[in-house]
Symmetry: D2
Subunit: 499 residues, 4 copies
């Protein structure tokens, strides 16, 4: 058993910027038409009210936006179809979430090449005709303004393309062509919506990635291009092992990832024109692979807790990739638990990571303590609220947190705990024999098993709060000054003494 | 720690009749108009699909059924208003539950006296005019037939009055007047609906109660009255202590209650004409008081498990009093947990007893084992399913159940456990300081805390199943022959070994 | 056929203040616990989004708020139970509507007398002990602040009692005692919530009513009492005929009622201290009787249209009495259509008056025309929007409105019409034989019949818009500059020419 | 004005078999994952409770069922993924509708060629390996049995492929290859599920189509193949005109289509082995093109009424193609009204044809009259119920139906009418300027406009019922013996006489 002692005083203060709810990732736009997708998004937002949503495939053919047409004299005209776009955007806005637009990929009929990515075949080549590309962007924005109003649409951030530093996502990872794409796209956006914030280069990490940021900023500066924020991604998977269709990695540690992000932050700040500019981590997760079993584990939840405690130091936002498991990048999932990115498995079964987000979403007070296992804030009403976690990388010991309280008097301690013993639907599914197709009773059983364990303790004056987390546990707690209400004659103890 | 060993063989068999879902009790009919009532009933039936519902007050004035009217010449006419009746019955039938009618109490304008019972003032005196009483019954049934069809209404059982052996419920507990009421009521029912099953005397226990049954049967036999079933109640509260508005009892044990019911059964069977006739226990619970804190406890859940395991031996049905806490007999509840009868507290917070019902509702196979801690059935698909409980009357030890399995091979053991540690919302509310008015966050916290703990174990061939229940725990388990599905390359263990 | 010509120019302007959505009336608070009530309120607000809701009975015993208690030594203490209050207020706020508090009636245990009003027996006597009354008000407000926040509760207007100038509503219509009640109540409110707006005297019309206002203001001025607004009621029923339980009146005309309100306005303005102070008409309707068949008619809808076009000239708000038919003042309704106050009949069947409110709720632009049959506003997007009505008091002619448009070009005219031919569920129910208990198919039939008739015309450049309303019709219309979108090759006319 | 007189006597009888609700068509299976699809299906079934649903694309790649896999040694194995299948089938069964299976099209990895059909690229070539095809069918059925039970799945009819007599749907319209496909498929079905009903050849009409049926039956007879029913399609579009992407046809008349179906019926009956065998018309509509504007018109509704009155004479069922407009065969619709097949337009706007189905769904009594404008049945409760229609092919006159009633006494006549004046959302959308993207207010306006006009008349004894239908109107009516209920003192007429 690991022990961790924290002493809080009335003057305790610690840095902590919490924008965990700013944005979340999603499978391609077209999947937002699915009922299961909508149900998962509603269920996730019920406990983790993300404000923006970002995903690929806005212009991919299943969204059916680009539709040139031919008149009866055989002349072709540019044309667009916003039926599915409206349906998706309506669903987001009605639910209270806003898009973080990503301009991509290329409609087949507009593409310069045939390279595609993913099971769903997103074309990843530059436009054959730049005017058609910018014409489509402008038509899209004008349509959105017409439907949702200028002010609303202006508030959506807009990013150009995705991971152009990978040849799969952008033909040959051709940097010059990306910079040109950024240039024409950003100018097109600002022509229609000067207030819309636009940014790039949406790179993933790896060799040379920091150079991409530097080159991108240099290019924007030289060309005096519109630029409102810088974007990049953060994944923790290192060496890769494949078994069948599944992927397994060793993970780097949280600090390694933090340092990588901090380096990007410093590069931005090294440009006087861009110093302090927002950096959005528009994707992050442990593994970057949607069939990597870690995503369904408590281990994942604990890693993410570590990230959420520190990424706000360097980034304006960080968008977990992805909220749910309606996702098809390497095919339609065949198992209920298959290592998908989602916080929620198909059939609306929460994964442990969902609770990490739920817990952080609640931290709104002033931070009074932060370390590598715990963040604690103080609320206006005097209560203390925190999240702690027990990442088990070497050894599998439980962790007990001891908190010396800053003020006299009795407290109520409420804890909500998700660890391998209390909230581990993956383990149950495994013990069930890893069934491919879940029957309704098993779905219900797993959903209940996927709820965290809520418990309470009354602390008498002078007692230390002690919170124990099992393996890879994440725990939310509130410490409230105790106040008794009740009613005359109500005696809770009676039946405990006279059973 | 208590230990309990069970050895199952292929030939194990045990008696067990499970009609736990036949009927459930409800606060007075008029409360069925409430939205909170409807929500609680839907929520309860989602996990415990009761088939019938029985409560008082069908003819009490808030249902506004009896409405004589005066013409412009000053002449009075009998008249009825079925607006609220329709609304309540529609709500039941649309939900899939049917009424178990209870004819009572007396409309004020039809009453011979002014005695009332409860905060809501149900008049408990005989009719001033028998023809008006039977006229109302017949009008009611004709209206129901017109609205729901003859066949549907015929299937609803019908009981005459409630607990006439108590002077509060029936003026002076006048037996002769009750027998007369039964006579005219039963004949009125059969005049309109010969197929409707009718019965009485709906007595509660206590001194002289068995005599009431004997006298009632004798009367029916002599008068050759219609009689389809016999009804009575079962409560376990003994000595009573009052504090403020709250009531506390010592409880008799399950066997004592069982024997009391068995005596009634034997009385019925002693009449050759009535031998084997259905006996319905139209109310039962631990305490008969709606502000008795036991109802909210795990102790209550364990007592009820004991009753559910044996009452089917002597009764056709047994109707838990009541499904929810929208209830006003001694006033509107002022605390979220106040010892109300419900399986569900106000604000839709399940109490432990709800899970006892959920667990028994699932036992549909052939019984292979029953003792005072456990019932086990075997399903057609070969799985074993059971409920076990750890009633803690003296001492507070945990209980471990060990089951030697009847067939070779690996098993998946799935357990759902509600004990004082895993599912005890009352304790949390107490630790919170017994707040009078719950804020939304606390409601959510309590609802999650009120879910049982679901867990799994894979048993290798030859292993014994072991199930541990904490204090006053009730546990449902399934033992399924283990079968592995999964998918090639999916390796659950990898991240457990490489974290 | 009546003809009415309107010529609009670019400079047309007319006075019109539209606060139709500020407030709506409701049956007593306790009925807000009913599911049917909640459904009706949601359905009404879906088309007429009222912002506040006001009704009687906050302190009447079915809300169970006042609950003094006795300790085990026999000493009594003041006490309150907010279980039902929370449930009702939660339901309002979750739906997006705020209370307009009315302080009344008297809890039985606090009353100085036994006089009650209504089937539901609201006690209408002064408090036996003023301190208990003000204690209860202060406890109520403190509880509301604790639950909903200071800022939220401060925004709810608060009125003292209801129609004290009627002896039924206030024992002996004792003016001095009402003024005293106002004094202590207003001071109690401000003690807890200085920002809460408080007012009175909530009188109904009739002889001496204007004097009550004058005396009330004089009293407040002299005592320097808190006073934020003045309230009164407006009903149009004159001579009364009774048949059985039903009431029939001749109605005064809209202008008569307007003048009555204007007189009150002028009285207020005649006090220098109160000049321009808000006057809220906290109840109005045609008849003041809840079994007056006019409320279900198109005639009622047309009268209300007339009132909505002018009441904003003199009053800050006007609150239609009531939104729905879950209402028990003179008993539980026995017919689906029984002349209840509601805009919606039981079983969720809209009455024509609902559409009058829906139509006025949409008028948000700048008024460019108003007369006794029509109001027209101009929206920012250039469209014109209006409501017109055809009140048929003598003769039953249809009315055609001709509008000369202010700008050149084609228009789309969209009309939504509720008149005796297009939207008259009452007539259908009558033709059905006035059934007491509606079967589901008939409910569906009536609901569809209760929808207005929506239609369109394309007006070519230079055409006059013509709108025809049948008997007692109310019509909403929009005139939009016509713009063609469509798609190449889509030919609407083809099948009209080739069928 | 056209006049049509009907005289009914107590002995009137007419033939009429109504199986309008047996089955309905749907866009490809994969679209059933869409939320808008599910909403439309629920909304359609709310008024027209179809029992089965049939569509293409069960095995097309977006359903992702066929998934062979490769082990780490490079060996390939057959494999299947039922994630999406389960999701779709769950949604159907939870809603209460059952699949009418259609086996097709070919998974790309199993196909012998590359020919595809539709925007969504269904492969329409024979299997490269017959064993893989039958292996997939058997695996599918075994999975369905495991999930839904043997009895449930046995009750689903199963058809082999779609329109193999068209070269687009089956490479070269190769009859021999289709017969072989039928042979292996039917045998595979029966191997797993002997009770499942299987049939073909699912042909569309046109030259040679009757020969296909004859040859198919001959083949089955000679090979002694399993065969439970024969299937074919029926469309009324004749000559075709194209404008842009839209299609316009002259229509043949109802009788022509009826005769075509009757010929198929007679062919079947000419085989002694198959005489009387069920014929299912597994698709029918006016036009076979999903961008043919007729589908949105009242004209379409009137045509379909004609078909529904007679197709039951020759076919066991007839499945309207399709229930809704979530449909992609020639691309994603770009206009709200674009001539899609659906009974309901996107955005949940009913088209007139929906009401034709609603009206016929209600005809359950014994038929007492049928002609080319009207069907009338008599219900057990003595009421008469009918559907009449006014197809306007030449001239656009209204039609008045006069019905001499068979029994004395007063009647209530309830009519629900959808004609060009009362229920014509297409016309309104056209007058709006054919907007591409509907704003919420316009959606609401159109939804209300798309409701039929419900009205009532009280007929005095001896009066003739008269029902007037405008252009292309379809009308449902009930004639009930009039019975007055009401309440003493309620006087409907008073306000009509004293307004």
């Amino acid at each position: 058993m690991k022990q961790h002692h924290i002493t809080l005083t009335k003057d305790s203060r610690a840095p902590f910027t919490n924008t965990a709810m700013y944005c979340v990732g999603t499978g391609r736009m077209g999947l937002a038409l699915h009922e299961e997708y909508q149900k998962q998004l509603r269920a996730v937002r019920h406990v983790a009210p993300f404000e923006h949503i970002r995903g690929h495939g806005l212009f991919t053919d299943d969204m059916a936006i680009y539709r040139p047409w031919c008149d009866d004299e055989g002349v072709w005209h540019e044309g667009y179809n916003f039926t599915y776009l409206d349906r998706v955007m309506d669903s987001y806005l009605n639910m209270g979430i806003r898009p973080f637009l990503e301009l991509g990929f290329m409609p087949e009929k507009m593409a310069s090449g045939t390279q595609t990515i993913f099971y769903w075949k997103g074309n990843t080549t530059p436009p054959a005709d730049e005017d058609k590309w910018t014409g489509m962007i402008k038509a899209l924005l004008r349509h959105l303004i017409d439907r949702y109003g200028y002010e609303e649409v202006s508030s959506w951030p807009c990013e150009v393309w995705n991971e152009p530093n990978l040849p799969g996502f952008w033909e040959n990872a051709d940097k010059a062509k990306y910079l040109r794409l950024y240039e024409i796209s950003a100018l097109a956006v600002k022509e229609v919506l000067p207030e819309m914030k636009v940014g790039g280069p949406a790179i993933c990490g790896g060799q040379g990635s920091q150079d991409w940021i530097r080159d991108f900023l240099t290019f924007c500066r030289e060309k005096k291009l519109p630029l409102d924020f810088v974007t990049r991604h953060a994944y923790m998977g290192q060496s890769t092992l494949r078994k069948g269709r599944y992927t397994y990695h060793e993970m780097c540690d949280v600090n390694y990832t933090y340092e990588e992000m901090k380096t990007s932050r410093e590069i931005i700040d090294s440009f006087p024109e861009y110093k302090g500019m927002d950096m959005h981590i528009t994707e992050y997760n442990t593994s970057y692979n949607p069939m990597c079993p870690i995503h369904d584990t408590n281990l994942n939840a604990a890693y993410i807790a570590g990230l959420l405690s520190c990424l706000g130091d360097v980034a304006r936002s960080y968008s977990y990739w992805t909220f749910g498991d309606v996702f098809e990048e390497i095919g339609v999932p065949s198992l209920p638990f298959h290592g998908g990115f989602g916080m929620m498995a198909n059939n609306l079964i929460p994964k442990p990571t969902l609770w990490t987000f739920h817990y952080f979403s609640r931290l709104k007070g002033e931070c009074i303590h932060r370390d590598d296992k715990c963040v604690i804030v103080k609320n206006k009403d005097g209560s203390l609220e925190g999240v702690c976690w027990n990442l088990c990388r070497n050894g599998r010991d439980a962790l007990t947190l001891h908190i010396d309280l800053p003020e006299q008097g009795a407290y109520t301690l409420l804890t909500s705990l998700a660890d391998e013993d209390t909230c581990n639907p993956l383990k149950i599914w495994h013990d069930m024999g890893e069934p491919v197709s879940l029957k309704p009773d098993d779905v219900e059983f797993l959903r209940t098993a996927a709820q965290p364990m809520n418990a309470s303790v009354k602390l008498e004056a002078g007692e230390t709060a002690a919170i124990t987390l099992g393996q890879n546990g994440v725990c939310h707690f509130i410490l409230r000054p105790y106040r008794h209400e009740g009613e005359y004659g109500y005696d809770y103890e009676w039946y405990r003494e006279h059973c």
